[in-house]
Symmetry: C2
Subunit: 231 residues, 2 copies
DNA sequence: CGCGGCTTTGATGTTCATCAAGTAAAGTGG
DNA sequence: CCACTTTACTTGATGAACATCAAAGCCGCG
């Protein structure tokens, strides 16, 4: 973890329009003043459940996992988030301490805005408030939907789902390095590590995918689609 | 479904402080004007997924279920809500159509406020906006937590969980009429109807509960607690 | 170099869904 | 109000899906 020299102003940020697009100059400057850019190396913990929430975090670059800790190395991963996902919106307005932990799956840069400053702006800009409501609601709906989706599938369907998820939503490619371990896949789609490996091997034997350590090639994405759909 | 003569003003509502406690008189009157009280009989559908959201619904009396429809009588019940729960906050700000259906499990009275009026007030009262954010976030966090809780349990643990849920959170009593069918229990805690019945019978044979149709008596809630905890 | 964590495969048993079949209850139309 | 139909509830038998246990190879790291 390392604070970066803050060279960029929010007003020129490529992600400005995602959330801050309609703010007036004054409010944007106000937020920018309390803003810090922080770099986290792969594996570092960005926020830990139970600790106090002091800032609104905004994922600028990288990939993170959002999870709940459990005893005995059996965490529950709630979701994977990339830039444009509003990770930090979860429970930030309902609790004074984090309900979930966040850690970096890749080298990651987050923008951190003081939470009080954020609430100030929400309080005085109603349109902004509505926008935050929208984003938050979408984010939660999405997570809920995904959880139900995953839970009603059989294990093969879950693996297919998660492979397609990485391919379509994260990497936009049929080949990619899986950013998480087999165990983490298990923690994400609620099954055992052994079965993750077993089913990946099955898919490999059936020539649906090719595996080389962390590297995955989707040879027949259409078959994955149908395995995913049929459960 | 029947619109009730609107005798009560929001300002004198027992639930006013839950959400509208800090509004100024003007805004409260404004909301009150667009407010309708509607009664739904047990079994009636309050809102249906896919239809347009035109109002913010507020559960004043009764009990409802929130669910997603599935083909072949296998819905997914997302949660049960009673007065004080902000059912209608789910996805109301992220979508123009309902993402979930809501139906009445008991005779129910809802207050319906025009959604535009609601957004107007949120836009001009920042503190109110923050409050809505809080409530919404809490509601979602709660549902998410419950889903993970249920999913990591075995079937006996799930049944124990749901019995304790009705006992502790809905009826505050060791005996109560279950407001939902065996199939709906199954849809709520993700198992089959047959197994719901089987495990209820087990609990009955073990004298942990007593069953008389819809009437349930928790004879040994402590044992249920431990079954629930141990999974 | 050895230790711990990650990965892999096989064998085994448990949990659970599915199928089948029957009774009870509730709603429907004549 | 009664025959009829549908829906809810119940129990048992069976097999499939899955977790658990065990053991071994691999890799990175101090």
């Amino acid at each position: 973890m390392r604070e970066l020299p803050s060279l960029n102003h929010c007003s020129t940020c490529v992600y400005k329009n995602l959330l801050f697009g309609n703010l007036n100059t004054e409010d944007l400057n106000f937020l920018n003043e309390s803003k810090k850019e922080i770099e986290f190396k792969k594996g570092e913990i960005i926020s830990e459940e139970g600790t106090e929430i002091t800032s609104f975090l905004y994922l600028k670059q990288g990939l993170v996992k959002l999870y709940k800790k459990n005893p005995l190395h059996k965490d529950q991963i709630i979701s994977i988030a990339k830039p444009r996902d509003f990770v930090s919106l979860l429970s930030i307005f309902s609790e004074s301490t984090y309900k979930y932990s966040i850690s970096a799956l890749e080298d990651t840069i987050v923008c951190s805005v003081d939470i009080k400053a954020m609430k100030d702006v929400i309080s005085r800009d109603g349109k902004f408030a509505i926008e935050i409501l929208n984003k938050m609601s979408k984010m939660y709906d999405d997570i809920l939907e995904t959880r139900f989706e995953i839970n009603k599938k059989h294990l093969r369907g879950r693996i297919a789902y998660i492979l397609l998820y990485f391919s379509n939503h994260i990497y936009q490619s049929d080949e990619f390095d899986i950013p998480i371990s087999r165990r983490e896949i298990a923690e994400l789609i609620e099954m055992t590590t052994e079965n993750v490996i077993r089913i990946l091997s099955e898919f490999r034997k059936d020539s649906i995918i090719k595996i080389d350590g962390k590297k995955i090639y989707l040879l027949e994405p259409e078959r994955l689609e149908s395995i995913c759909k049929l459960g």
